[in-house]
Symmetry: C2
Subunit: 217 residues, 2 copies
C-alpha cells in the first residue's frame, strides 16, 4: 500500500483495503466475542468475513495481531455517540459504554480480549491506558469549567474510573449477563460525584439510565 493517495485508481485500491481491514476486525470481534481467543480459529474468522486467509495476512501477521486490533478499537465504538464536554463527557462515555457492551460485539470482544490477554501470552496495557488518557482529558476540561473539586488529581481519577469500569463489567457479566451494567454505571457516578465534583458540577451532571437510552438509540 502506498503511503499517500495518488491517482484515482490508487485511492480506490486504498479504500478497498481499508474496508477489507474493517470487515476483518469486525468479523474477528464477532468470533472472539462468541468463542474467546482460544476458540476463535482463523478458519472461523475468515468464513465469517467471507475472505481468504491471504486477505488476512496482508493486514495482520497473526491471530494475536488481529486480537490487538480488536482490543484497540474500543473507543471507536463509544466516542461517535458522545458530543458533551468536561464532566458530562466522562459520564456519557461510561453510560454509552455500559449500553454498547450489551449490544456491540466489537466492544464486547475488545473488553473480553483485554481481560483475558494473559491467557494467550499478550500483556498489553494500551487499551486501559488509552481509555485513561481519554478520561483524563475530559476531567481536565471539567477543571477548566469549574466542575472539579479542589485538589482532585485528574490522572488518578481517570485511572480509577477505567479500573472500576473493568471490574463492573466482569461482576455484571457474571451476576446478570450484563443486564444491570447501565444501572451500575449510574451508581458509580452517584458514589463518585459528591467527592470529585464541585457542588455546581455535581448538580449540573445528568446521570440516569434514561440518559443511556437517549445517547444510544
Amino acid at each position: 500500500m502506498s503511503a499517500k493517495p495518488g491517482t484515482r485508481a490508487e485511492r480506490a485500491q486504498q479504500e478497498r483495503a481499508l474496508r477489507t481491514r474493517e470487515t476483518l476486525v469486525r468479523s474477528a470481534a464477532e468470533v472472539f466475542d462468541e468463542f474467546g481467543f482460544a476458540g476463535a480459529s482463523i478458519t472461523k474468522i475468515m468464513k465469517r468475513a467471507g475472505l481468504t486467509p491471504g486477505a488476512m495476512y496482508f493486514h495482520f501477521d497473526s491471530k494475536e495481531d488481529l486480537a490487538r486490533a480488536v482490543m484497540n478499537s474500543q473507543p471507536d465504538t463509544i466516542t461517535p455517540y458522545v458530543t458533551s464536554q468536561g464532566l458530562q463527557r466522562i459520564i456519557d462515555i461510561t453510560l454509552v459504554w455500559s449500553r454498547q457492551l450489551q449490544i456491540d460485539p466489537l466492544l464486547r470482544a475488545g473488553v473480553r480480549l483485554t481481560n483475558e490477554q494473559n491467557s494467550f501470552g499478550v500483556e498489553d496495557a494500551t487499551p486501559y491506558q488509552e481509555w485513561a488518557g481519554i478520561m483524563q482529558e475530559c476531567l481536565e476540561v471539567a477543571r477548566e469549567k469549574g466542575e472539579l473539586a479542589d485538589g482532585v488529581d485528574a490522572h488518578m481519577v481517570a485511572d480509577f474510573v477505567v479500573a472500576a469500569c473493568t471490574g463492573m463489567q466482569m461482576y455484571s457479566w457474571i451476576a446478570s449477563g450484563r443486564k444491570d451494567l447501565p444501572e451500575r454505571a449510574v451508581q458509580m457516578w452517584k458514589i463518585l460525584l459528591p467527592g470529585i465534583a464541585t457542588a455546581s458540577g455535581a448538580a449540573g451532571a445528568k446521570v440516569s439510565t434514561r440518559r443511556v437510552a437517549t445517547l444510544v438509540r
Copy 2:
C-alpha cells in the same frame, strides 16, 4: 464422615480429613495460579499435594468443584489480618487484599478463577457477592459510628468497591505485574472518602502504603 465428633478416634479422623482438604485446596490454588484452569490437570494438582486422585474424589467431585472451593476461600486469606472496625475495616480489607495478591497463591488463584470462570463454564457470582456482603457489614458499622456521610447507600458502595477492586487488580496485573496494586488501593480511598465519609470519618481513616506493611508482615 460422621456429622459430629464422637470418640477420640473419630475426632482424629475428622481432623485428618480437614487437613487433607486444606492441603488439596492450597495445592490446587498453586497450580491454578501458575497454569490457569485449563492448564491445571488433576495429575499436576495431586503431584503438588502429594496425594492420590482417590483423596481428591473423597472431597471434591471434579476440577470445577475444586476451583469453586479455591474461589470461595478468598476471605480466609484476608480477614485474619484485620482487627479494625467500621470504615477502617473496609479500608484495611482492601489494603491487606492488595498485598496478599502479591504474595499468597490461594488468593491469587481465587481471583484469577473468579475472573476466568466463564472460560470453564462456571457462572458463579458468589465470590463477588460474599465480598460485597462483608464490606456492607463494615459500612453499616461505620454508619453506627457516625463515619458515613448522610444518604450513602451501604449496599451500593459495597458492591461498587468489590467491582473497583476486581478491575484494579486486572489493570495492575497487566500494567505492573501487580506491583502498583497497594498504591492503587490507597488512591481508591483518596477518591472515595471525600464523598462517602463524614469529615471526622475521613480525617480518622488511616490510608497509606505504609499501613499495608504494618497489617501484613
